[in-house]
Symmetry: C2
């Protein structure tokens, strides 16, 4: 139905319109996320606009139409289901799944996605804790709290990450921090806002403020 490239543009516009608050998404922002040039983006915006997938006013940025949003969410759904497959079944690390899912998300077959969903037992979140859109396009967003906001002595469960970079995820691997771990905030250092955590009742570990800002937790 839609090309590899069109799906990527729509997905990118969707992600950008989620972040921050913006009324509309800018050409440069799209170019940066897609690692391409602004001129190429403008070209594609015209095409997507002709196909009624976005509303686009020259120099004013873009927004997804309902039609475009459906395509974008469909792509996100496929991406995250494949990530679950790679992580749960093929034993990829959570730092490795994204790259391969970027390719798999463009496979065209509704039947495939439905069967994959069933095979994975209808997962609700991907390996990074991000929600998987349902077939009907709805997304159940459980709101997670940045670890950094937790008070001393509270007990929480690691349930997501804000930052998705490979280097951050690998850093968490080294610290043996992964989704589902029970975390008790043992101490908060005033000086640099670093935190001492007790993970799964094991040894205490120290995480920087930078790391604590990017870990998302939920109540026990």
């Amino acid at each position: 139905m839609y090309s590899f490239t069109e799906e990527n543009y729509l997905k990118t516009i969707y992600h950008l319109s989620q972040q921050k608050h913006p009324e509309s998404v800018t050409t440069n922002a799209i170019a940066e996320l897609l690692q391409t040039k602004a001129a190429s983006v403008t070209d594609m915006l015209k095409k997507l606009s002709d196909k009624k997938l976005i509303s686009y006013v020259k120099y004013q940025g873009v927004n997804l139409t309902e039609k475009g949003r459906k395509v974008a969410i469909g792509t996100v759904r496929k991406h995250r289901l494949w990530e679950v497959f790679l992580f749960d079944k093929l034993k990829f690390g959570w730092d490795e799944v994204h790259e391969v899912a970027e390719q798999l998300e463009h496979i065209q077959s509704d039947n495939l996605i439905e069967k994959l969903d069933a095979f994975l037992n209808y997962p609700t979140v991907d390996p990074h804790g991000d929600p998987i859109p349902r077939k009907d396009g709805t997304i159940k967003n459980q709101k997670l709290t940045p670890l950094v906001e937790c008070k001393k002595n509270t007990q929480v469960v690691m349930s997501g990450v804000k930052e998705h970079s490979v280097s951050f995820l690998q850093h968490l691997n080294k610290m043996e921090l992964s989704l589902g771990k029970k975390i008790k905030i043992h101490e908060v250092h005033e000086f640099d806002r670093s935190m001492v955590l007790m993970v799964d009742k094991g040894t205490k570990i120290l995480v920087s403020n930078e790391v604590a800002k990017n870990i998302l937790v939920s109540e026990v």
Copy 2:
């Protein structure tokens, strides 16, 4: 490494050079299998030749080089592993797997294929009984016999198909004939060379000569 299109051309040339006997594969044959025009094929043959993937002499047809053969076999391996995944894990019918595997085979990740292979428990054949090339490029070809060559009262196991069309596979579904079934040749009608089979010691069924020619069996 190689584009979607290049992989498809190489795979097609590989399949054609397996079929029949031919010293070299013709432009028209490639065009027909790929559902494209001879002129387009000529263009691509030049490019593949420049990349040393095929040996190509104008008007004389093509052959894969060792390099090209490796790429082709790699693609066949990926295709067949994905077919096993779709059939065994996602419960696709054997008449449905090919189409989706045509897309999945082009996903680029050696790691993915190794992990998929392990997850599937290192299968040796795909859902149609075709051998899955090993990682090193070798193919273990167990030779199968067309059912039509079997004598009355012999007992065999259905282990492959010669014809891969969706309509043939669906016809076999209707007859409840699938790989692994034990078949006893109960009778062979001289008149039209049709055969009466006893399948898994159940009821007797009649298969036409056309069908019997396209079913491959091995010894019990």
